[in-house]
């Protein structure tokens, strides 16, 4: 027993060790992660209730809570649970997907500017959506499908173009920027050629918005999240090894190229859900992992915390976009502003160093 006490490793923070079933199951959890996770969930809960209160028919907080508990009348239930709750839930889930996706890409590229955008997904999905909207005058589901196809094809193309004896983060970023720039030009040309009305609706899609989303979108998104989140957590363990360089990862038993491909597919899939449901929502994927890192003060990928931070960010952004400014803005506009503030913060911090 005394010997066991001696061999306990001292980390720079408090760490919980859980072992059960005669050590067939064992985990090490940073106490910080639990505190931060609980804190984010608490704030998210408050923001969610605030969102449920807000609207053309304001409802006091106590009534919102009572409605959620099922002890209010049918009218309130309809407004809170059927109209407002799906959107709030969607904002949190979609934000969480973006946060996790960003955490994967930032870890893979060892770059704080890594995000699914770098492999051209956003530009490609916009191209796909534009083609459907402009050429086939498609509706919501057709546009979503077009965006998915466009994004995935572009991501695959960037991946293949960047392949040179395996995939390297920096090469991927450069090729991704190049392809995204070309697609950006193509997208601009398409909008320029389109009729005004069509171009308007294309531009609205391109801003990314949760307006008009409800239960019909919530159910498929929830299904996808239920499948993708555990899969991502299951496959994310090699990320920590790959952060130390491909050689170290290989030497510790990671099939680097296979793991990287699987993780990129998962990262793109997580972003694809969001793009299909709400259009391109930028910057959450970029900012959430950085917030998670700062809050948990941890090195390495923080998928869980990044997901929670992403969910919270999109909740806040959507509430502000809907209610704070008197006009309904697409949430994508809000997240771009958040991104701008984030870059300003990064610059100021670097400048002080």
């Amino acid at each position: 027993m005394i010997d066991h006490q001696k061999t306990e490793v001292e980390f720079d923070r408090s760490v919980l060790r859980l072992r059960c079933l005669s050590e067939r199951v064992s985990v090490r959890v940073d106490a910080d992660w639990l505190v931060v996770g609980a804190g984010i969930l608490l704030v998210a809960g408050i923001v969610a209730i605030t969102s449920l209160m807000s609207g053309t028919y304001p409802i006091p907080a106590i009534k919102v809570v009572r409605t959620l508990l099922g002890i209010e009348d049918e009218t309130l239930r309809m407004i809170v649970v059927e109209w407002r709750l799906p959107r709030v839930a969607l904002a949190f889930l979609l934000g969480a997907c973006l946060g996790m996706s960003g955490a994967i890409f930032q870890s893979l590229t060892r770059n704080p500017l890594g995000s699914p955008d770098i492999i051209g997904f956003s530009a490609g999905s916009y191209t796909g959506a534009l083609i459907v909207i402009l050429l086939f005058s498609g509706g919501y589901y057709e546009t979503a499908a077009g965006a998915l196809v466009g994004g995935i094809v572009t991501a695959a193309l960037v991946y293949l173009l960047a392949w040179h004896r395996g995939i390297h983060g920096f090469r991927l970023i450069i090729v991704g920027i190049g392809v995204a720039a070309m697609l950006g030009a193509f997208n601009a040309w398409m909008i320029r050629e389109a009729e005004l009305q069509v171009a308007m609706s294309a531009a609205i899609w391109g801003a990314g918005s949760l307006n008009g989303l409800g239960v019909e979108q919530l159910i498929p998104v929830m299904l996808a999240v239920v499948i993708l989140l555990p899969t991502t957590l299951l496959f994310s363990r090699p990320l920590r090894q790959m952060e130390m360089g491909d050689d170290v990862a290989r030497a510790s038993g990671v099939d680097v190229n296979r793991s990287r491909l699987i993780l990129m597919v998962l990262g793109v899939a997580l972003t694809a859900i969001v793009t299909a449901a709400a259009g391109p929502i930028s910057f959450i994927a970029l900012v959430a992992p950085q917030i998670a890192r700062r809050l948990t003060r941890s090195a390495g990928p923080t998928l869980g915390t990044s997901g929670l931070a992403g969910g919270l960010l999109l909740l806040i952004a959507d509430w502000v976009a809907q209610h704070a400014l008197g006009v309904q803005l697409p949430v994508g506009v809000m997240t771009v502003s958040i991104g701008g503030l984030y870059f300003l913060f990064l610059l100021l911090r670097e400048g002080r160093k």
């Binding site: 306990e8 490793v9 923070r13 067939r24 064992s26 090894q241 952060e243 130390m244 510790s252 090195a299």
Partner: protein
């Protein structure tokens, strides 16, 4: 420990059999065979770009030979699962990157990866291996500090601790002393020698020939992707060998501390040798 290590001992755990190693179309080595003596401290020397690192990468399953095979415990290393290999053979490559803001204990803990799974993420065996690795390398005292804040020598010891936590009988290190000052080089080599004394097989690429001769129980000299000589340093290191491998005129004398060969390069300026006379200088050096 130093007595072990016949170069072609068939029972050695790690062997390379007629390897051809290529990067793209460029052939680095062909028909390269080598056996790593169990329990020995093997040091590989050779000029830049002679294929030392490539050989290490092939031995540790990082690159696949275009012909021949690397054999670990009687099996082709590329037919084994990556994690199985990683439990027998640990590698510290030159390219290791410490993630931003990682603490010493966290970095060392990452060496446990091949022993872990989704459900078994931190067993008491992991805990003990990390604690022992940190104790053996003398980094326990700063286990909570950030790797970025450490000196070069401390940082390199942390990396060795990470590979050590992998608990492999064979340790391979690619130029572990590069970028360290002389005191830290000796400190690290002493540490590796201690680990070797405890029974681990060590393979390292070193640039300093005197260190190589002093610490190696088995020395492999490479040139142009081929092995020129191998054996105990006292038996193989001569001025002739250094002339052949490095194209370096030198004097070899016994190291006053260890009695192992000590190499004193002649250089051109102090020996009065003319530039064009370099090639005729051979007779002079071999007489020493």
């Amino acid at each position: 420990m130093t007595g072990i290590g016949l170069p072609t001992d068939i029972r050695d755990r790690l062997q390379a059999d007629t390897l051809t190693l290529r990067y793209d179309q460029r052939t680095i080595s062909s028909d390269l065979s080598v056996s790593i003596p169990d329990g020995a401290f093997t040091v590989i020397i050779g000029p830049n770009a002679c294929g030392k690192s490539t050989l290490l990468k092939a031995l540790s399953r990082l690159i696949r030979p275009s012909d021949g095979q690397v054999i670990l415990d009687g099996r082709d290393i590329h037919l084994m699962a990556a994690k199985d290999v990683a439990r027998s053979l640990g590698l510290l490559p030159q390219s290791a990157i410490a993630p931003d803001g990682i603490s010493v204990a966290d970095l060392v803990a990452r060496g446990r990866y091949p022993h872990q799974s989704f459900l078994r993420q931190w067993s008491s065996a992991d805990e003990a291996a990390v604690a022992n690795a940190m104790a053996a390398t003398g980094v326990t005292d700063f286990s909570g500090r950030l790797v970025d804040e450490l000196s070069g020598g401390q940082r390199q010891r942390v990396w060795v601790a990470m590979v050590l936590a992998q608990e492999t009988p064979i340790l391979i290190l690619d130029e572990p002393t590069t970028f360290l000052d002389i005191a830290h080089q000796i400190e690290l080599l002493d540490l590796l020698a201690d680990l070797n004394d405890e029974g681990r097989t060590i393979v390292a690429v070193l640039h300093d020939l005197n260190h190589a001769c002093r610490y190696a129980s088995h020395l492999i000299a490479m040139k142009d992707g081929a092995i020129v000589a191998q054996g105990k340093p006292t038996e193989i290191v001569t001025a002739d060998l250094l002339q052949t491998v490095f194209n370096l005129p030198s004097i070899v004398m016994p190291d006053p501390i260890s009695g192992t060969p000590m190499i004193v390069p002649k250089g051109r300026r102090l020996t009065g040798t003319q530039k064009q006379c370099l090639s005729t200088d051979r007779t002079g050096t071999s007489m020493v």
